[in-house]
Amino acid sequence: MEHKDNWIDDVMSSGERINRVPVPASLMERLNAIPSEIKATYDRIPKRTLWLAAASIGLLIALNLFSALSSSADEKSNAQSEFADTYFSHSKFL
């Protein structure tokens, strides 16, 4: 029992003996190169492709808006004609 407790204490204290480690020089180089690498990635995408993508998104939004507006207008006119039908059929019945 005592041996087990000592072993557990020993294992747990091994974590407190861990030294802080410096960053490897090769990694520091990679980190310092991040801004230029990101800029290079953006530069690799042709401007024409970016404009085409933007235009496609714009077109999609416009089509969606158009479709949403026209369907709400249809619903409105349907509701109006439904009301008129009910009204006139009721007065015909009278």
């Binding site: 747990m12 091994s14 974590g15 410096p22 520091m28 991040i34 990101i38």
Partner: protein, 198 residues
């Protein structure tokens, strides 16, 4: 390794970001890379993975540097990015390993036998402590997320209770409670390991 700059006050850092983003980033790399590297290596214990992860963390920092508004401390913001990226990395790695042969996870009712990783690497562990540290880290991996973070920050990385509380965005009393439960659970896991292996 690059020379270390004197850490900037958070408000001065925000000003620097607006003035010169790249310079602000170089400042972060110089001031925080060692801290991030040590946090990541405690989580992964694998050299290549740690280097890839640290690069990923700093890429993420560079891409979101403009969004830092000083609502939390800069060190807390960086630490939370490092933690989130580490979790994401471990999740992906675990998913890959489940279909591979690198780890075994055996469940025995209430106790989980520590995962045995083949590729344990930690440059900060002294040679004579390698085996013990490996067992300890395997047990630490079994702790609940918050307990593990608190234990690693306080017991392994050596942050004070107050610093640990700040990095975890919680109170000192919560950290004390997390550490108490973490130590209790670790003792249970190690006792279980001892019974089965010694």
């Amino acid at each position: 390794m690059g020379s270390k700059l004197h850490p900037l006050e958070d408000k001065d850092f925000i000003k620097l970001v607006r003035k010169n983003k790249d310079q602000a980033f170089q400042h972060l790399v110089s001031s925080y890379s060692e801290r991030v590297y040590n946090t990541c290596i405690q989580m992964l214990r694998n050299r290549e993975d740690t280097e890839d992860l640290v690069q990923e963390v700093f890429t993420s920092i560079y891409l979101s540097i403009d969004s830092f508004e000083g609502k939390s401390k800069l060190s807390t913001w960086i630490h939370s990015i490092a933690l989130n990226k580490s979790r994401e990395f471990i999740r992906n790695k675990t998913r890959q390993k489940r279909s591979g042969i690198h780890t075994t996870l055996e469940r025995d009712d209430s106790h989980i036998v520590p995962i045995r990783t083949i590729d344990f690497y930690h440059p900060g562990v002294q040679l004579e402590d390698q085996e013990r540290a490996k067992i300890l880290f395997d047990a630490i991996d079994q702790l609940a997320d918050q307990q593990r973070q608190a234990y690693l920050l306080n017991k392994v990385e050596g942050y004070s209770y107050a610093e640990t509380a700040e990095l975890l965005e919680t109170s000192v009393s919560s950290v004390e409670s997390l550490l108490f439960r973490a130590k209790k659970r670790l003792k249970e896991l190690l006792s279980d390991y001892y019974e089965k292996n010694k």
